[in-house]
Amino acid sequence: DTAVSQTPKYLVTQMGNDKSIKCEQNLGHDTMYWYKQDSKKFLKIMFSYNNKELIINETVPNRFSPKSPDKAHLNLHINSLELGDSAVYFCASSQDRGSANYYGYTFGSGTRLTVV
C-alpha cells in the first residue's frame, strides 16, 4: 500500500526521557513534515524537509530535532521530554509542483505521545 506510515502509534514515557518517532513514505514525494496537534485539535507545523534540506523550522524547542536519512524518511527525535510535549504528532508528505498541481498533503495516522 502506498502511504505515510509512522511508528509507534502510542508512546507513554516519563519526563526527562529521550524518544524518537519514525516516519516513512513510499509515495515518492519531495517533502516531508512533522505536525503537532494539541488538545484543541489545532495543527501546528514543526518541521519540513525537502530533498534532505530543512526548509521550514518553526520556533519549536531545540529539544526537538528532525532527522532524515533519505528522501523517504523523516524521523523526529525528542530530548528531555516535558509534560507539555504530550500531544499527537503527525508525519505528512507532499509533492509540490506549483499551485496548479498541488495535490495536498498525505498524513500518517499519528503518534499519541503521553509524558507522565
Binding site: 485539535k41 489545532f42 526548509i55 521550514i56 496548479a100 498524513f107 495516522s109
Partner: protein, 111 residues
Amino acid sequence: TQLLEQSPQFLSIQEGENLTVYCNSSSVFSSLQWYRQEPGEGPVLLVTVVTGGEVKKLKRLTFQFGDARKDSSLHITAAQPGDTGLYLCAVRMDSNYQLIWGAGTKLIIKP
C-alpha cells in the same frame, strides 16, 4: 488572530439533515483545501479549489471557493453518520509552501 476562521466550531445534527460549514479569511489565496480527520487518524484531503467561484462536488459534499478567493464553504446534503469528523480548511503560502490550517469544525451526525 488566526489567518483562517472556521465556523461553527462544533455542529451536532441528525442523520438526513443538511449543513454548511465555513472557512473565512481577509486574505486572498491561490488555492484552498478541505480535509476531514476521523478520530485516531490523520487528516485526509477531500478537495482543492483554485478558481474564484469554483464549485466542486464529491458525492453529497459540495465545496465552493468564494469569488474573491478569500473564503470557502462546504455543504453536506442528507448527512450520514459516516460524515462525522473534524473538517479542516487549509491554504498554502506561496512564499514558503507552508500550509496554514484553520482550527476546524467538529461535526457529529447522530443516527
